[in-house]
Symmetry: C2
Subunit: 230 residues, 2 copies
């Protein structure tokens, strides 16, 4: 007797070419490997990824909707420049949603994700001491996701993710000094503590403060890196 796995029910074993191009381009745009203002072209990217123009085009359109590319018909496609205004707008929207998330988390928060959030904070301390910024950033994201999951707000998180990209892109410019991560860990702990206490107002103000502090050190970057800003 052979056991037949329901393969067809899985999403798909291999992501599509369009999805791969979009994922890699997105990562490059956010970490500024692909520079703001840079001109892209469907055919050039297609050649680089060894695919046809069509999946590249679909990736371009998707990234345009996310506000990362500017597709100008018959003219060309450019990576949108950084923008203080756009960053502040992103922060405004993100704060609105994440504040609502922690407020709900104070009412009901899955115990499993409370433990997960706590262990993520511990991992962040380790990463901070090791000076592992890339790892820290990944753990930071996972912490916020854990809050959303614990509060049963994953749909809200997908809305946050789009905005987060515009904050991350500007933050990628900052030089990470050795002790820059420690305050963020403490802020995460403060948020989790407030949630565990069920203190909504404290949780909200802790999250609000945290999202402000993330952007500490970006002031003046639009002058230092003027060519990257619009």
């Amino acid at each position: 007797m052979t056991i037949v796995l329901p393969i067809q029910s899985l999403p798909r074993l291999q992501e599509s070419a369009a999805a791969r191009v979009e994922r890699e381009l997105r990562a490059g745009i956010i970490d500024l490997t692909i520079r703001p203002g840079e001109r892209l072209s469907e055919s050039e990217i297609a050649e680089r990824f060894q695919v046809s123009r069509q999946p590249v085009r679909e990736a371009f359109i998707a990234l345009m909707r996310q506000g990362l590319l500017d597709v100008q018909p018959q003219r060309g496609t450019v990576v949108v420049k950084l923008s203080v205004r756009r960053m502040l707008d992103a922060r405004f929207i993100r704060e609105a949603i994440e504040v609502a998330i922690v407020r709900r988390a104070c009412e009901r928060f899955d115990a499993h994700y409370r433990d997960r959030a706590a262990s993520l904070i511990a991992a962040q301390e380790t990463a901070a001491r090791a000076g592992d910024h890339a790892g820290f950033q990944r753990l930071d994201s996972l912490f916020h996701i854990a809050l959303a999951e614990g509060a049963d707000c994953m749909e809200a998180w997908t809305a946050v993710e789009m905005q987060k990209a515009h904050m991350d892109r500007v933050c990628a410019l900052t030089l990470h000094s050795p002790g820059s991560m420690d305050p963020l860990v403490a802020q995460h702990q403060a948020i989790l503590n407030a949630i565990e206490d069920g203190d909504a107002e404290r949780a909200v103000s802790a999250m609000s403060h945290h999202l402000s502090e993330i952007l500490r050190g970006v002031a003046g970057l639009d002058l230092t890196f003027a060519e990257l800003f619009e």
Copy 2:
């Protein structure tokens, strides 16, 4: 001497085929002309709109990102069914953002848009008396947009729009009784009054209450129209 207008600086005179297909399909999906659970296919829609499959495909992908279509590779595309959960998630996100908008509006609100919001409320009263539900819905949307514009939060509104679709889709099921629009007008007025007074807490609770009342009458629809819900 001939005057040459800078035509090339305009966005584009005629929207692309893909944009047109997306716009029309989206409208149909939201007003339930295209029924939840209905099966679509690129070639069928392409024939209906007299375009090739490619722009239809792009429209499908865009609508999938908005959570309105479910594109299953090599299997088919279906209009996602209505979902109470999804509607509540949309309301949660929308409330989070719109509450933040009115809160900001209490701090700074462009006078021009205050007048515009007031005139929109007046127009809503007229539409309500005439029993013009389609017109009322359009005016309702314009009112919320005016708030966002007045508070200088248009980026936030684009985030709201995506969620709004999931609420509108369920609301399209409700039978509009003659007096159902009057309370909504009053709620709009309450929101605007609070903003004019600069009373943030009152504005927030007015908006919150308004967004709750919009969904009045949808309770039990998932049982009455079980085949449209997942």
